[in-house]
């Protein structure tokens, strides 16, 4: 009889202790934000270009988490689509026409033509353009995400998107893709 009693007491006690522990943990370690949106946001290229139809990468990540199409990120290209598909365990849509390799570009202001209207500065989502009213503007290349948003507002069309030059530092070691030129002897 006493064995039975002891067993019941111990089991009840254990149950109580673990119940309390679990209850505490569920409050203490509660996840506030949607972790999926966070993870998707980390995969996006953060150009903040708005080509997906959302104002920035974070809103698009949230939209994807809520079931939007995963093929809308143009700067991310195929690689990003694959990564998101991998994360969400969904098949890669066939209709995605983003199979080209994305060449990174940066904005370049033709400084002779710039009239100092500050319109591009207002358009830049990452504050990568320097300048003030009636002064020439210029792009901080290291901060430019190549989002294209400054090209349209320019009233004198003095902004160009130029591909990032390949240097010995960012060279990809593709030996058979080396451009060579004939030297005259």
């Amino acid at each position: 009889m006493s064995f039975l009693l002891i067993a019941v007491i111990i089991l009840t006690g254990l149950g109580l202790v673990f119940g309390l522990l679990l209850g505490y943990a569920s409050i203490k370690f509660k996840v506030k934000e949607d972790p999926v949106a966070e993870k998707i946001d980390l995969l996006l290229p953060q150009t903040q270009c708005g080509q997906c139809g959302y104002p920035g990468c974070r809103p698009y990540a949230e939209a994807v988490a809520n079931g939007d199409d995963i093929t809308k990120c143009a700067p991310g290209g195929k690689a990003t689509i694959e990564q998101i598909a991998d994360l969400l365990s969904v098949p890669i849509p066939d209709n995605s026409n983003n199979d080209d390799i994305v060449i990174k570009k940066v904005a370049f202001i033709i400084e002779d033509d710039c009239i100092g209207c500050t319109k591009c500065i207002q358009a830049c989502p990452v504050d990568a353009i320097l300048g003030t009213t009636k002064q020439m503007h210029t792009v901080i290349i290291d901060e430019c995400t190549g989002c294209d948003l400054c090209v349209e507002p320019c009233p004198v069309d003095c902004i160009e998107m130029i591909p990032v030059a390949q240097t010995t530092k960012n060279w990809n070691w593709q030996l058979n893709a080396i451009p060579f030129k004939q030297l005259e002897s």
Partner: protein, 679 residues
């Protein structure tokens, strides 16, 4: 903690004791490729004639390119600073002789990619005049010595090209200073000859480094296939004021690798992702040591280096002391080079070196060897076969890696697994590819994978930064908006307070206000308002009519009769608008729009504005058209634009305006939608 420390110091003591007793260790793996050094190992260092032009690349080292401090046309003297270091890991570029700067341009560099880099072109005056020298001594201030080494542009001359001053500026406590004279790659003999001929200079450099680092032991390591160099260095070390151990190590490729050499001499292994200084070791090449002695004791910065020119296709092989920036083509001509078809020129050794893309590339600080090998001597690798998992590569890997596994992961672009298998510990020595029975170019796979991983990491870093900046910008915009609201609210409050105060305090003002109000009410009570409104409507109608007749003067006159003040205001606005439109026109339009601007001024303000917009749209359109017919001549595009103008100008104009308005509306709607979504 204390026990740990004491056991560590005990361990260190035993290591030093063992080193003192002449003990040596072994690193994992290693291979014995044919050395092929016989042809040049007995040839004394000789010089070549000064070239007509020197090409000094600003990227001769690992790290940031140097920044030029001279301009085209400047006259410089030998040893003068041409480009200063940019950032911590970077190195200066020095004039190897006196002359003039003839160009600063993109020029092919001594790099495997063949990508052009920023290069200073120096035309020598063949006078070779040194700038004034200010030599230091061994007892000079440490900071001064370090600064001198930095300004002398000294990088690791063994091949990697790491700035020397960075290694010597370490704050870590150094136990071992190792001078690397192993020279384990086949063909290369430049360090061998340097040790044979200039041992005293090397030892002088070691004394300087010992001053800076205060190591407990100094070891010069030389592979035992260089007996003359070992004798010469032992002789030089005896003359020194400090204790220097000269150690012959077994010939085994890649014993000259930094981490491998440390293991052979001290039994210590550099942990993954760490540098030798973290375990109390600094390694410098013998040639670097010699350059440091020159820079500090003679104030002669790095102006030349010793290059081994060898291979079956040169008739006059040798160890040449050449000015930095000499073109490799000229060096080969001097060595009587006889090219073959499908000739390869290899820079560095055959194991870790690379085939040069352009023969006009210059000798840089880390160019230690030029091999003009015949096809039979160094044949092209046979085509790659499938991996048979024999495991030979693992047996020879000096970094204790699993080359076979890394190869699979590299082909699969599995970056996570590559990192887990310590890809970045690979020193790219090529031992695995050397023994591979399937002739898989393993190192090439690792290099591509490394570049990919580096790029991904860089992209990730940039993305994080962009995200951060975007978020910060949004916070700033929100804050500005709040501040603006706050300001206007406050201003309104102040206004209100002032008004209420006025009405309370000043009885006269209040009375006046009352009277005014009464007067106004009286005016309003009469049927004036109706009349006014009717008159205004008539005026508007008339103005419209007159506007259609395209002459503004009669309109102004007519409106004068009805409502002089209103008309005057309207006229002023019209003038201002016309002026504005004209100004805009001037900025935007090309020359052919000027006639339009003239006509616009005589029309109505509203029309003028529309016309301006149209003009703008047209300008853009013509531009596009011009771009479309880019290949055709200009006249053609102009006529096309003209015909468009004559065909249907009105319709086009209306369409353009509507399109613009629609686009704007759509954009606004989208933005508001997005904002809602965000909320």
């Amino acid at each position: 903690m204390l026990s740990l420390l004491s056991s560590w110091s005990l361990e260190l003591k035993t290591i030093i004791n063992l080193v003192d007793q002449g003990h040596q260790w072994k690193f994992h793996g290693g291979i014995h490729p044919p050395s092929r050094k016989e042809r040049t190992k007995t040839l004394a260092i000789s010089t070549i004639e000064m070239p007509q032009q020197l090409f000094l690349s600003l990227s001769q080292h690992i790290g940031q390119p140097a920044v030029p401090v001279v301009a085209i046309g400047d006259t410089v003297q030998k040893g003068q600073l041409l480009a200063k270091q940019d950032g911590f890991i970077s190195a200066a570029v020095i004039a190897p002789t006196s002359g003039t700067i003839s160009d600063i341009c993109q020029y092919s560099n001594c790099h495997i990619s063949g990508i052009e880099t920023q290069t200073i072109v120096l035309t020598p005056d063949h006078l070779n005049t040194w700038r004034t020298k200010l030599p230091l001594t061994l007892t000079s201030d440490h900071q001064q010595i370090l600064e001198r080494i930095k300004l002398s542009g000294i990088t690791g001359l063994g091949g990697a090209g790491f700035p020397a001053a960075v290694k010597l500026a370490t704050k870590a406590a150094i136990e071992f200073l190792i001078i690397n004279g192993a020279e384990c790659e086949p063909y290369i003999t430049s360090d061998d000859l340097l040790m044979q001929e200039r041992g005293a200079g090397i030892v002088a450099g070691i004394e300087i480094m010992a001053q800076l680092l205060k190591p407990q032991r100094i070891i010069i390591a030389i592979e035992d296939n260089k007996p003359q160099a070992i004798t010469a260095m032992k002789e030089a070390a005896k003359q020194s004021i400090i204790d220097i151990i000269v150690r012959a190590i077994p010939t085994l490729y890649p014993a000259g690798g930094e981490k491998q050499l440390i293991e052979v001499l001290t039994s210590k292994q550099v942990p993954s992702g760490k540098i030798p200084a973290d375990i109390g070791v600094v390694v410098q090449n013998v040639a670097t040591s010699h350059a440091i002695a020159n820079a500090v004791l003679l104030d002669e910065p790095i102006v030349s280096r010793i290059v081994t020119v060898t291979g079956e296709l040169v008739d006059k092989p040798g160890n040449y002391e050449v000015p930095i920036g000499t073109s490799i083509e000229q060096l080969l001509i001097h060595a009587q080079f006889k090219p073959q078809t499908q000739q390869k020129i290899i820079i560095g050794g055959p194991m870790m070196g690379f085939a040069l893309q352009q023969i006009n590339a210059p000798v840089i600080k880390s160019t230690n060897c030029v091999i003009a090998a015949s096809i039979n001597e160094l044949p092209d690798a046979p085509p790659e076969q499938n991996c048979i998992r024999c495991g030979d590569c693992e047996q020879v890997c000096p970094a204790n890696l699993l080359p076979q596994q890394l190869q699979w992961f590299a082909k699969d672009q599995d970056h996570k697994k590559l990192n887990d298998h310590n890809l970045f510990d690979c020193i790219e020595c090529g031992a695995c590819a050397f023994v591979c029975p399937s002739t898989i170019p393993l190192v090439q796979y690792y290099r591509v994978a490394k570049a990919e991983i580096r790029q991904t990491t860089e992209d990730k870093r940039q993305a994080d930064r962009a995200k951060d900046r975007f978020e910060q910008r949004n916070i700033r915009l929100e804050r500005d908006k709040q501040e603006r609201l706050e300001r206007s609210k406050k201003a309104a409050e102040v206004r209100q307070a002032a008004m209420s105060k006025n009405s309370d305090g000043d009885a006269v003002a209040a009375a006046l206000a009352r009277i005014k109000a009464k007067k106004a009410a009286a005016e309003e009570s009469s049927d004036a308002p109706n009349k006014d409104r009717v008159a205004a409507a008539i005026a508007r109608a008339k103005a419209k009519k007159s506007a259609q007749t395209t002459s503004p003067e009669p309109a102004a006159q007519e409106s004068d009769d009805i409502d002089p003040q209103k008309a005057r205001v309207a006229a002023a606005i019209a003038r201002a608008k016309a002026k504005k439109a004209a100004q805009q026109q001037k900025i935007d339009s090309s020359n052919d729009q000027s006639t339009n601007a003239d006509t616009i001024e005589t029309i109505d303000p509203k029309k003028a504005r529309i016309a301006a917009v149209i003009a703008k749209a047209k300008a853009k359109k013509t531009l596009e058209l011009e771009q479309a017919n880019n290949n055709g001549n200009d006249d053609k595009s102009v006529t096309v634009a003209d015909t468009i103008e004559t065909i249907d100008p009105k319709k086009a104009r209306i369409a353009a305006v509507i399109a613009k308005a629609k686009a704007k509306k759509a954009l606004e709607q989208q933005q508001s939608n997005n904002n809602n979504d965000q909320r």
